[in-house]
Symmetry: C2
Subunit: 327 residues, 2 copies
């Protein structure tokens, strides 16, 4: 089977394609954060990315592989969250049409954000319609290309450019990380980043971090096949609480000796507050899972060099205020 795991060459090509159209986000560090964590922490600050999360990397890389004719007909997806915004913004930058399929119950702010970038919103009724069916019908009718959120080598490669930058930024500081932690839901980001990290630093131990009660990737890594969340509990870490892992991300992660750990909502909120105080970086709860795992000492990291990804900063002001005043 051709191209069934992500390779370093896919990531390098994605970096060439994306070029200067996305932000090379900085790596942040704080002596105070290090003291609280008991280790040296290097934070890849992806809230500073265009659209406030890493998602535009993968979405835009996928679009750039389509060729002029398919691009002209446009792209479509069904996420109201960070991926939807990434697709909408990528389409705007490339000058192609985009449709975002949203439930008619979607919060106004998410609808506004997608519209701001120029995307057309098509609503469906979640009580009577299935979003995949609606999306496929529109895609066929208009000749649009579906941009998957994670289970796609080009999307994974785009997210991997974050890992490539992190490797270069750590190398510039003469840091070889002992441990790398990446937030994980479907696995697009984790597979991309960990592929880049393991290529450069073969002995670095990599972890995926999930919300407690949503450890689908942790279980998949143990069973060797895609597991899903049996129920849909609630979590403040909405960005990493999807129901399924991607088959391609899982296959890639299985080649790299990756372990799964999890954090609670309270631990995530405390990490959000720590990022506020010590990094001056706005991070959403799901984007702070890796930082939460370090601060809550989910694995033994004393004295080690630890790199992690803060993956997004699109957080409701009321949730953010709660994190600051209650932890």
């Amino acid at each position: 089977m051709e191209n069934c795991t992500l390779g370093m060459e896919d990531i390098r090509q994605a970096a060439d394609r994306l070029g200067g159209s996305i932000v090379r986000t900085p790596v942040l560090a704080s002596p105070m954060l290090d003291a609280a964590a008991g280790c040296r922490v290097f934070v890849k600050a992806e809230p500073l990315q265009l659209t406030g999360s890493f998602k535009i990397r993968g979405a835009m890389n996928k679009m750039l592989t389509l060729g002029a004719e398919r691009l002209r007909r446009g792209v479509i997806t069904y996420s109201a969250g960070n991926h939807g915004q990434g697709v909408a913004a990528g389409a705007r930058l490339l000058g192609c049409p985009a449709v975002i399929v949203l439930p008619d119950t979607a919060p106004a702010i998410k609808v506004e954000n997608c519209r701001w970038w120029g995307a057309e919103i098509v609503f469906y009724s979640p009580d009577t319609q299935d979003r995949e069916t609606v999306t496929v019908a529109i895609a066929r009718e208009r000749g649009m290309t579906f941009i998957p959120p994670f289970d796609d080598i080009d999307v994974m490669a785009g997210q991997g450019t974050l890992g490539l930058e992190l490797v270069e930024q750590l190398a510039k500081r003469n840091v070889v990380p002992d441990v790398v932690l990446v937030n994980c839901s479907g696995g697009g980001l984790a597979s991309g980043v960990i592929t880049a990290i393991k290529h450069a630093f073969a002995h670095t131990q990599c972890y995926v971090v999930e919300p407690t009660g949503f450890e689908k990737m942790g279980r998949s890594l143990r069973s060797g096949r895609p597991e899903h969340n049996p129920t849909v509990p609630k979590t403040l870490m909405d960005a990493i609480s999807g129901p399924v892992v991607g088959a391609l991300p899982l296959r890639t992660l299985l080649t790299h000796d990756v372990r799964g750990i999890s954090v609670t909502d309270d631990e995530a909120l405390q990490a959000v507050a720590h990022a506020f105080r010590w990094l001056k970086l706005v991070v959403e709860p799901g984007g702070a899972a890796g930082l939460a795992a370090v601060l809550a000492r989910k694995v033994a990291l004393d004295g080690k060099r630890v790199a992690l990804v803060c993956s997004g900063g699109n957080v409701d002001p009321a949730v953010y205020a709660r994190a600051l005043t209650h932890s």
Copy 2:
């Protein structure tokens, strides 16, 4: 009189001295922010600096001019805010003793922050003692060097390194700014940054931004001599609400056709909320004054290229939560 205005060579030497010991903070931009402001905005993100504000640049540059013997005896200052933290952190990095003179009424968090960096805190009673007198007495007794907050060429040159970085970062994007705005109290930051900007971009119009009711630099620029605030009103922009301007910063600013504008607390809080939403950057109210002036359209900027400094992010969580939920 030797060295009575800041020159470009002072700033270049400061940049060489500081080298890699401080953070080269990124310049952030957001299409959504641009749309709200009606112009292209480039934000120098100094909350991402070590200690959460620009102050370590000037404090540390001053220390690096002292020579080994004076450095060994240590440094002293009397600010509990961003300058105090900058002095404490700079002393820690250089391995020299530091004393911070604080009123016995200082908030615990500010005392903790200075102590965290290893500084010794000496308390005085503001009812019966004068902070300058206390500071001078300790400095004489222990042979320590006073690090002034702004009225000193070496301190101004250190703050100017921020301007030098901004010039390089704008040039890399092929941007010549039409307008630059810098938050201002004593004038150390403003004189440093504007000297670097005007050297590179002679036609850029520069503004200092102050809290409404605290326009001491605006008045000083008009009268040509150091004015002070006749009363001490209250403002949330505590970082830029000191009573006096520096003679040396004023003299430097008078050579550069600088204008003064002001913003209210409400405008500053709204700018804090905009930086949260669009830049994912934590900014304190006083650090957001320049951004507030742009968003409140205090000067005509339509379609222009505007660079500004977000100068610090050390904000009380309750004040920050208020900015997010009330604007």
